[in-house]
Structures are given as structure tokens and as C-alpha cells.
Amino acid sequence: MAIEFKPSPSLPPPSKSVGVVAWIRHNLLSSPLNVVLTAFSLYILYLTIPPLIEWGLINATWTGTSNKACTGGGACWAFINSYFEQFMYGFYPSEQTWRINLALVILVLLVAMFAIKKINKLYLALVIILAYPVLAYYLFSGGVFGLEPVETAKWGGLFLTVLLGVIGIVASFPLGALLALGRRSNMPVAKSVCVIFIESIRAVPLITILFMASVMIPLFLPEGLNFNKLLRVLIGIVLFSSAYMAEVIRGGLQAIPKGQYEAADAMGLSYWQSMSLIILPQALKLVIPGIVNTFIGLFKDTTLVYIVGMFDFLGRIQAANHDTKWLGTTVEGYVFAAFVYWIFCFGMSRYSMALERKLETGHKRN
């Protein structure tokens, strides 16, 4: 005898609340202030976009062998074009650049193998972290298997920039983790050593550290004991980024609920067991976005090695500006540099945001 409940049908919303017109009204013209803002924004766009397109695309010159070819009044991309290889590989002998490409391909393949289910991820990671760098080092510097030796002074361009960034981040990882653990430990000496190291590194600009690394480290070593400048700069970069990494990882450690530590303790795991099996895996997963951000920062900061006289990407572009054949192409060089850095950094930051989103949903925590 009860009345049966039949939900009434859902109707489409009234037309004034959907559609293009509604969208424009709602998003651009919703109040007098917004109308003014919209007009102002449109004006800014009008001022910037058309001249940029004209300069960069319409009037640009794409090919040529010297600045004589650039007559369009727009950008002289021919300069970038003719120097492209140098910008990518620096002074690396051009008949040897296949070695760099090969190393890159191998790396991409290795990373792609993570997608294959059957492969043990741990071993793969070990291969990438331990075996790959050795392989890459020999590929780059040569001197074995009949590869022509290429001294590090010739490494340069984007290759060097990426190399510095990647090694900086990868090597600073374990160091940063140790420092973070040390900073959270309740042993006063260990704690203060870590705090002092982290804080003093973070307090000074990278440029002073690079300067120290490039000219002063030998003063602190016994006479005769000295090593490659690239290596020294790398050490500086690694120390620098490890301090930042430590703070990122510390953030992750702090985000792990106390219950996880307690559960691990209650099961009888030792300190190192609970850190390596329980805490760090979770903490690191949490801080991947932070790590990517550190990496982006570092990647941008590597431009500073140009100040200590290394021909990284920016340094190489500047050097190319000296070429009498290509005078007056400074702006194109800088725009190209800015573009490449932007692609890298923006890509990575998008990637980290995607990761963040993925981890958020895929990984419910109690």
C-alpha cells in the first residue's frame, strides 16, 4: 500500500547557466571590475603577442651560413641551426657524439624497462644506479675498447648541463637521506654535525661554493693530490644539493605518522631495518615532487658553472656569440637558451604535479 517512489527525471540546466555566452559572462564579465581587467588583459596580449610572432616566426630566418643571411628583420634562427651540434655537445668531437646519444638511448631503454612487469624493479634500479654510470663514464671519456679518449675539458653544451644536473641529484640522494636521518636522530653530536652542515651550505650562494670548488679545493689537499676540475665542480654541486635534498627528505620523514615507527618497533625491527624497510620507502615516495623541484632548481642553477669557466649550455651559447660570422645574434642565443631551459623545467614540474596527483589517489593512507 506504500506509494512507490519514482525519482523525477533530471532536467538539463537552464540555458543561461551553460554555453559559450554564459561562460564568457561568468568568467570574463561577471562584474565591472572584471570587465576592466578583461579589457586590460586583452590589451597586454595585443601588445605582446603579435610582435613576438612576427619577430620569432613570420620574419625569422631559419637557414644560412652567416648573419648575412638574416635579412628578414626577424629572429636569426639560422645561427642556432648552424651551431646546434655545439650547443648540444660542446667541444665534444663531432664524430664521437654518437657515444653520448648511445648512452642516452641506453638510459631511456633501461628506464622504460620499469614498465615491464616481470623484471625485478630492485635489480633494475641497482643496474641504473650502479652499473650504468660506469658504462656511461667510459662511453663519454673513452680510452677503453678502442674508444678515442675525450678529455672532460671538451665536454660541454647541453650535455654537460644535463650531466651536472643528473649526477648532482642522483649522488646527493643517499647523502641527503643520511643527513636527514642524522638531523632527526636524538644523538646530540650526530644531530649537530648534520644541522651545521645543512644550514651552512644552505646559507651561502651556490656561486661561492662553485668558486671554492673550482679554485680552492686544491689548497686544502696535500700538494700533488689534485683532481679534475669537472669532478671538483661536481663535488661542490653534490654537497650543495644534498643539503637541500636533506631538507626535502626530512619533510617526508616528518610526514610519516608516528604509528609507522611504533609498529615497526613493536615488531622488533632494528633502527636500520625499520628505516630502510618501512620509513624511507614511504617517505621517499611522499617527497618525489619535492625532489623534482630540487632538481629543477639545480638544473637552472647549473648555469652558474659558466661563471667559473665551464662551457655548459649557456656558456657555449655565449662563446658562440663571439663568432664574427654571427655577430648580433645574442638575443637569439639567449632566447634559445631560455626556451630549452623552460622546456626542461616546465616539463619536469608538470611531471611532478602529475606524479603528485597519482600518488594522492593511488595511495590511501590511514
Partner: protein, 391 residues
């Protein structure tokens, strides 16, 4: 009775306290040894190479000029004074950079949250572009691109007594005349008056509930009284006006392009980061807070001012301070475009003239260290003060 075993003898190896003690002693020993090792090498190297050490060079005449100096400085002054000049330059650019970056950051952060789609997009574009390009490049851009766009001194843009050209922005330089103290007195008076007004307004509100627009009116009071005092004193300021000469504009005050470029680069770059911080801070305040405030009948402007902003600030301040710190450190890149800051003057010219690498680099690190330390001390203090009181 129970058969509780008496506490078994503490095994030395397994005692938690002993273990950590041993570990720490070993660690300390290693750290001390490494320090000792490095410094003994340094000593030996310095000795064997006949490099003199010490800070006595600070008292010697520097002999080099510095483009921008806020305290008087000539080539005849000492390295010590040059160091001071550079330090002031670093502090000035950092301070101004912080102010401008904050303003830009707040505007851009709010714009990104704007309900106006176009404004939000533009702000996003600004943020994403500037954040992802190295600062050094941006400095070059501002310096060279802007320089290229400006006219030569002979063809300066001119408005009133202001000039704009490749050499910078020239403005009249105020020179204090007799009677200026009267004007200053008037200004002080107006400040006292407006403070009194604000206190009165607050008291009245407590008593009667009526509001008085104290802040706007005190602004008015300050402007009016100060102007009056100026008039009474007979406008005790003259201006040294810039004028055209053979090479340059002479006289007046000048803002060199190096300064402008560094300031622009630092504040737009850091501003992009601050914008994100501001946005995150505002988003971090639960929407429920806004709803609660609205359902109490608070207007949107009041809701922002009384509820959202105070809570957002807690989230914003800590990362904001570390951006300030970054900005101060990044000012060292000014060396690349002729801004005479610490790294450029001390680690550049001074080091090169004197060869005192250890001392000059040490000085720089010390300065930056102190700067960072004081900023982070402030941050900790603020955090403690602002942290929400909880059970």
C-alpha cells in the same frame, strides 16, 4: 614467590646508551680529523707557496672605483670600506627586491585565483615562464634587452626634469635647505596625530560600536599637515636638476641600469615563486571558514580581512621567508651584469688585487651566513608566535 630473574648484567655492547655514545665519539673524531687534515694542508700549502694570510689588507687602499655607493667612497679608500660599500649594496638590493617581489607575488598570486579567466591565465603564464628560466639568463635579458631598447643619452626620453636613457633614470636630487627641520617637525606631528586618531577610533568602537575610517583619515592627516608645514617653512628644498652634457646627463640623482636590471630580474623571478606561495596559502584556508564567515553575515571584504588572510599568512610566511633568503643569495648574480654587490667586489676585484682567497671567500660566506641565520631566526620566532594554540 615469583622467579623474576634479577636484572641481568647490562651487556656493554647491547646497551642503547653506550652504543650511541660510542657512535657519536667516533663521528666527532672523524669530523675533527677531517677538519684538522684540511686545515693543516691549507697551512702547509700557504706556507710553501709564500702566500701571506690575515686581514691586514682590509686597511690598505683599494684603488678601484665602485659604480654604486651609498656611503662616500673613492679609489683612495680602503678595501675595508669597499667591503662595506658592497655589503650595503647587497643589503639594499635584497631589501628592495624583497619588497617588490612581495608586491608582484601577491598581485600575481591573487590574479591566478581571479575569477576572471583571462587574468588567471595571464598570471599563470607569467608564473610558469619566469619560474622555469634560469635567473642568470633573465638578468642578461633585462640588462641587454632593456639597454638595447633605450635611447642614447643624446636622445634621452625627457619628462619634466626626468631623463631616461641607456645610462639610467635621472631625477632631480633634493637638497635640504634651512628650515627643513620645520617640515620634519610637521611630519612627526602628523604621525603623532594619526596615531592618536587611530587609538581614539578604537576606543570609540569599543564603547559605542561605531566605526570610524581611521586609517584613511590618518593618511589624509599626514599628507595635509606635512604639506602645510612645508608651506610654512617656505618649501625648504631645492633640487639639483639633471642636465645634458657632452657624454651624459649630469647632476641629479641617477638610477643606473645595472641596478634596475638586477632589481627587475630578482623581483620578477622571486615574485613568480611568491605568487605560488600566496596562492597555496589562500587555498589552504578551508572553504568552510569562508562559508562560516558568510553565514555570520560578514561581507566578502571583511571575510578576507578577518578570517582568510590571518590564517593564510601562517601558511605563507615560512616559505616566504625562505624565498627572501633565496633572493638575498641570488643577488650575488648581479656580479654578472656590473652590479657591485658583495661577490663582485669582494670575491671579484678585492680577491684579484690582493690574492687573499681564503679571507675574502670567508668574509663573503660569513656575511651570507649571518644574513641567512638572522632571517631564519626571525622565521622561527614568527612561527612560534603565530602557531595555532592546540590541545
Amino acid at each position: 614467590m615469583s622467579d623474576i630473574k634479577k636484572p641481568n648484567k647490562r651487556s656493554f655492547l647491547y646497551d642503547a646508551g653506550t652504543r650511541s655514545l660510542v657512535f657519536q665519539v667516533v663521528l666527532l673524531a672523524i669530523v675533527l680529523y677531517v677538519c684538522y687534515y684540511l686545515f693543516s694542508n691549507l697551512q702547509a700549502n700557504l706556507d710553501s707557496r709564500g702566500i701571506s694570510t690575515g686581514f691586514s689588507f682590509l686597511n690598505e687602499p683599494a684603488g678601484f672605483p665602485i659604480l654604486i655607493h651609498l656611503i662616500s667612497y673613492t679609489e683612495a679608500d680602503t678595501y675595508g670600506r669597499a667591503f662595506l660599500v658592497a655589503l650595503i649594496n647587497t643589503c639594499v638590493i635584497s631589501l628592495l627586491g624583497i619588497i617588490f617581489a612581495t608586491i608582484i607575488g601577491v598581485i600575481m598570486g591573487l590574479s591566478r585565483l581571479s575569477r576572471n579567466w583571462l587574468v588567471a591565465r595571464l598570471a599563470t603564464t607569467y608564473i610558469e615562464t619566469l619560474r622555469n628560466i634560469p635567473l642568470l639568463l633573465q638578468m642578461f635579458f633585462w640588462y641587454f634587452a632593456v639597454l638595447a631598447a633605450l635611447p642614447t643619452p643624446r636622445h634621452s626620453y625627457e619628462f619634466a626634469d626626468f631623463f631616461l636613457n641607456k645610462r639610467g633614470i635621472y631625477s632631480p636630487n633634493p637638497i635640504i635647505q634651512e628650515g627643513f627641520s620645520i617640515a620634519v617637525f610637521g611630519f612627526m606631528l602628523s604621525i603623532v596625530a594619526s596615531i592618536a586618531l587611530i587609538i581614539w577610533a578604537k576606543k570609540r568602537q569599543t564603547r559605542t560600536g561605531l566605526w570610524f575610517p581611521a586609517y584613511w583619515s590618518s593618511l589624509g592627516i599626514i599628507v595635509v599637515i606635512t604639506l602645510l608645514a612645508f608651506a610654512v617653512a617656505g618649501f625648504p628644498l631645492t633640487f639639483d636638476l639633471p642636465h645634458q652634457t657632452r657624454f651624459n646627463i649630469k647632476g641629479g640623482m641617477v638610477l643606473p641600469p645595472e641596478f634596475v636590471a638586477v632589481l627587475l630580474a630578482l623581483s620578477t623571478y622571486t615574485g613568480a615563486f611568491i605568487a605560488e606561495i600566496v596562492r597555496a596559502g589562500i587555498l589552504s584556508v578551508n572553504w568552510g571558514q569562508t562559508e562560516a564567515a558568510r553565514s555570520l553575515g560578514l561581507k566578502d571584504s571583511l571575510t578576507q580581512r578577518l578570517i582568510v588572510l590571518p590564517q593564510a599568512l601562517r601558511v605563507i610566511i615560512p616559505p616566504l621567508t625562505s624565498q627572501f633568503l633565496n633572493l638575498a643569495k641570488n643577488s650575488s648574480l648581479g656580479a654578472a651584469i656590473a652590479y657591485p654587490e658583495l661577490v663582485s667586489v669582494v670575491m671579484g676585484t678585492t680577491l684579484n688585487q690582493t690574492g687573499q682567497a681564503i679571507e675574502t671567500i670567508g668574509l663573503c660566506m660569513l656575511v651570507y651566513g649571518t644574513l641567512s641565520l638572522s632571517i631564519s631566526l626571525f622565521m622561527n620566532w614568527y612561527n612560534k608566535k603565530m602557531s595555532l594554540i592546540e590541545r
